[in-house]
């Protein structure tokens, strides 16, 4: 066969933004862990540990956390509505789950979880969420300003796509940050403008520092469009004080920044002296009008006490957005038609759980409290363990699901890391994995003050495993510090 093959560009030269973006939470360390897992399965006993513990990712059910019974009853009934009509239904499902499922079904297009819903999400479900927001904050919410998405991450991408026109558009991000933000900014071609959280002050946010970085970026020709605030923080776990929140809101108003409030851990607060307060409530209680400040609040079904990561559900609530901008967001949402209905239903459930007096409330409350109190205990146990280790200090996890200890790596370790072309905290994390089977994420994946090293662990491993994890961690760290003693 003779032919002329014209030279053309192969797919190898793919979009450089795709090549540039990074996401350490599921990066190198995870790949190594998966190989170790395979090895363990082929040769049990080949390692000083008998299982890999994936503490790299906030994925509660993967580590044994059970789903909330009421939520799953409702979901099963929605998925297979024939269950609603049998004589035996009441043997398996509580009556409030049955009535909630009926109510939810009536909101679904074609009464089926199998139909595309409205592109913002089923209206009836958005109404339920709006009611839940109003109850939480004491201020009304408009269902038309709520967009249900396949996880909060999808909503973050939508907003970044909307805001970023070129690399001259900047987004202020906390350092350390959850690397969805850095990855999304890179993917959409913008510039990340860092602001450093203060570790010594419990990862507090200094507005002075924020303003300084904002001004610097502007001097360099960056048009800073928005600021990301993660509250409770990831990886840092701090819960902002109300006065801090007010300062941030005031800065956004003055400087014309869109406030992107990642509030996915709003149901994870472990300290008695702090409460979650939504940024929406702050804005409304101060009395700012819609003209003065634009806010996007993100919530997810993946965290809290429900931990339904695999369902991919979440929403963003828009405040202070003009109709023509909201139309554009709706248009982009409609290209993907809608988010998955299982996630939508869960979003309506977490914002509207069983209330006292309802049949399922007792069990619901018990399950919720058990999970949250256990999380609090695990946070403390691991925090204490880290603080007892030589050269390690760990801020308290006031909320969220992580600990982010500071590790003073000896110079010899840093050199050893450089020799194998690794970032020092990645080197430490890899050695830790090798010795203990525990998968953590190097702090460099989140950003940190230059010259400091951290690792992020979740607080999610089953409570019964925590003592063994703690002893293995301590043993590893001791031997590591000894090996690389200066």
């Amino acid at each position: 066969m003779s032919f002329i093959k014209t030279p053309a560009v192969p797919i190898e030269s793919i979009n450089p933004k795709v090549k540039d973006c990074e996401y350490a939470v599921r990066g190198e360390i995870l790949n190594y862990a998966l190989r170790l897992q395979e090895e363990l399965e082929k040769n049990p006993g080949s390692r000083p540990f008998d299982e890999i513990i994936y503490s790299n990712l906030g994925n509660p059910h993967a580590l044994g956390q059970k789903p909330i019974t009421f939520f799953r009853q409702v979901l099963a009934l929605c998925e297979y509505p024939a269950l609603l009509d049998t004589d035996d239904t009441h043997k398996f499902f509580s009556s409030d789950a049955i009535s909630r499922a009926k109510k939810i079904r009536s909101t679904l297009t074609g009464k089926s979880t199998g139909a595309y819903s409205h592109s913002k999400g089923a209206k009836g479900l958005r109404e339920m969420i709006a009611d839940g927001i109003a109850l939480r904050d004491g201020y009304p919410a408009n269902p038309e300003d709520i967009f249900l998405t396949d996880g909060a991450s999808a909503a973050v991408h939508m907003i970044m796509q909307l805001l970023i026109r070129s690399e001259n558009d900047g987004i202020l991000c906390p350092i350390p940050q959850y690397p969805l933000y850095s990855a999304a900014i890179t993917l959409h071609g913008g510039t990340l403008v860092p602001y450093y959280l203060s570790e010594a002050k419990g990862w507090g946010l200094e507005v002075f520092e924020l303003k300084g970085n904002l001004d610097l970026a502007r001097e360099n020709g960056i048009s800073v469009k928005a600021i990301v605030v993660i509250n409770p923080g990831n990886p840092t776990g701090q819960v902002l004080s109300e006065s801090n929140q007010q300062e941030i809101v005031e800065l956004c108003r003055k400087e014309g920044l869109v406030l992107l409030a990642d509030e996915v851990y709003q149901d994870n607060v472990y300290v008695k002296d702090k409460n979650f307060i939504s940024f929406k409530r702050i804005i409304k209680s101060v009395g700012y009008s819609d003209d003065e400040i634009s806010l996007v609040s993100f919530q997810s079904i993946s965290k809290g006490y429900y931990g339904e990561c695999g369902k991919r559900g979440g929403y963003m609530e828009l405040c202070g957005f003009s109709e023509d901008v909201k139309d554009q967001i709706y248009k982009v949402a409609s290209v993907n038609l809608c988010s998955n209905t299982s996630g939508q239903i869960l979003a309506s459930l977490i914002m509207n759980p069983p209330k006292p007096g309802e049949e399922s409330h007792k069990l619901f409350f018990a399950e919720k409290e058990a999970i949250l109190s256990s999380l609090g205990r695990r946070a403390k146990a691991l925090e204490d363990a880290f603080n007892s280790m030589e050269g390690v200090s760990c801020q308290k996890a006031e909320g969220a699901m992580y600990l982010f200890p500071l590790i003073k790596l000896p110079n010899k370790a840093i050199e050893a890391a450089k020799k194998v072309n690794m970032v020092p905290d990645a080197f430490y994390a890899l050695r830790l994995l090798d010795a203990t089977g525990l998968v953590l994420v190097p702090g460099s994946g989140f950003g940190q003050a230059p010259g400091t090293w951290h690792v992020r662990t979740t607080i999610l491993p089953d409570e019964s495993k925590i003592p063994a994890i703690v002893s293995r961690l301590k043993a590893f760290h001791e031997s590591f510090m000894k090996e690389f003693q200066d």
Binding site: T6, E22, P67, Q73, G110, Y116, L163, S294, N336, S342
Partner: protein
Amino acid sequence: MAKPLDYESLNENVKKTAYAVRGELYLRASELQKEGKKIIFTNVGNPHALGQKPLTFPRQVVALCQAPFLLDDPNVGLLFPADAIARAKHYLQLTSGGLGAYSDSRGIPGVRKEVAEFIERRDGYPTDPELIFLTDGASKGVMQMLNAIIRNENDGILVPVPQYPLYSAAITLYGGSLVPYYLEEEANWSLDFNNIRQSIASARSKGITVRAMVIINPGNPTGQCLSEANIRELLRFCFLENLVLLADEVYQQNIYQDERPFISARKILFDMGPPLSKEVQLVSFHTVSKGYWGECGQRGGYFEMTNLSPKTVDEIYKVASISLSPNVPGQIFMGLMVNPPKPGDISYFKFEQESKAIMESLRKRAHIMTDGFNSCRNVVCNFTEGAMYSFPQIRLPARAIEVAKSAGKAPDVFYCLKLLEATGISTVPGSGFGQKEGVFHLRTTILPAEEDMPAIMESFKKFNDAFMEEYEDYRGYSRM
């Protein structure tokens, strides 16, 4: 103080993006519905919205997976057949902690294996589960691939006209260039290679690097099933021009004639042997939203990569990992779709019955609709050989076109709005999909219930005849 998020300062690409399927007509239909008018939504392929029932077996399995405590109950057999129970246990075991845990970013390995086995059974060639990525609907997969390919506005993607406007929307959003190639309406919407060669030459002369080519088979909105010869020539073309072929095969289960069954682009590629089978880069898309399943709301899909370099696959994996994982229930629906009940299984009979009933009815409705449109003197409609849509060509009188233009509307938008207001039938104007200059179409689905079809076609004919009466003059109507 200027608002930080003014319309003016939004990403230009977002502003330029259009997606007619949920555009002007749909918004107007929704308004009318709020005012109390009965609307028949035939704007989107959304079977359950129009009364199609979900298949029983998959819903039983997924319900059990959602509520695994049911499996612990000794009386669960009262509510569920044994094979649904077994299958639920099978899928739960494949997950990393039930439906609530993030899975592998590419999808649950066990489900991807089921997909690979399905592909091998269908095509007769083995495939690697590692090259199959599950996604939240096929649309997400399409967007991921286009995002990986498009570097800037000089990168072009060949897209059929008419096309499903996900492609035009995604190309705009990612800042690339759409290079159109026209399907031949008179030849049953088949591929016209002269036109394709002209399109690519024209694009290149403008400095566009044409990177990929989209085919939709069976076609949307056009419904044609491509011939094997067409696909072979297409693959040869992609080989010579070094294009990635993006094969949207989401309607592969929806076939309403027997002359041209569905053959996957991959099968034909491998039938052609080396060098093509080793070099042509192909990405194939499938979904649980269509077929006789119609599980749109679950958002389940996959793409399969053939002959892409490992480095490229890694980059795509990396981007997938930022969104952590596709939704797990959707993945289970996909597993069930590619691995349905088999003869001998308890649920097989009912499953077969339900599936056959839907398929037979779709075939009937394809005919009713095509015939109904063709019975109007100013309408010509190719038969819906596959997919879920009818795309009749409406010949509009010159005066209607003038009135439309003075109202600031494209002529087919004008027609469709009038149709909506008169009958409640909500369609999508052909301009939303692309068409030749001066030729007008509308897209409707064949999904309204079979018993409602005759009345709907009656209602359409009545409107159309009245419209022609109003706008036609003694000189006759405009033609292509």
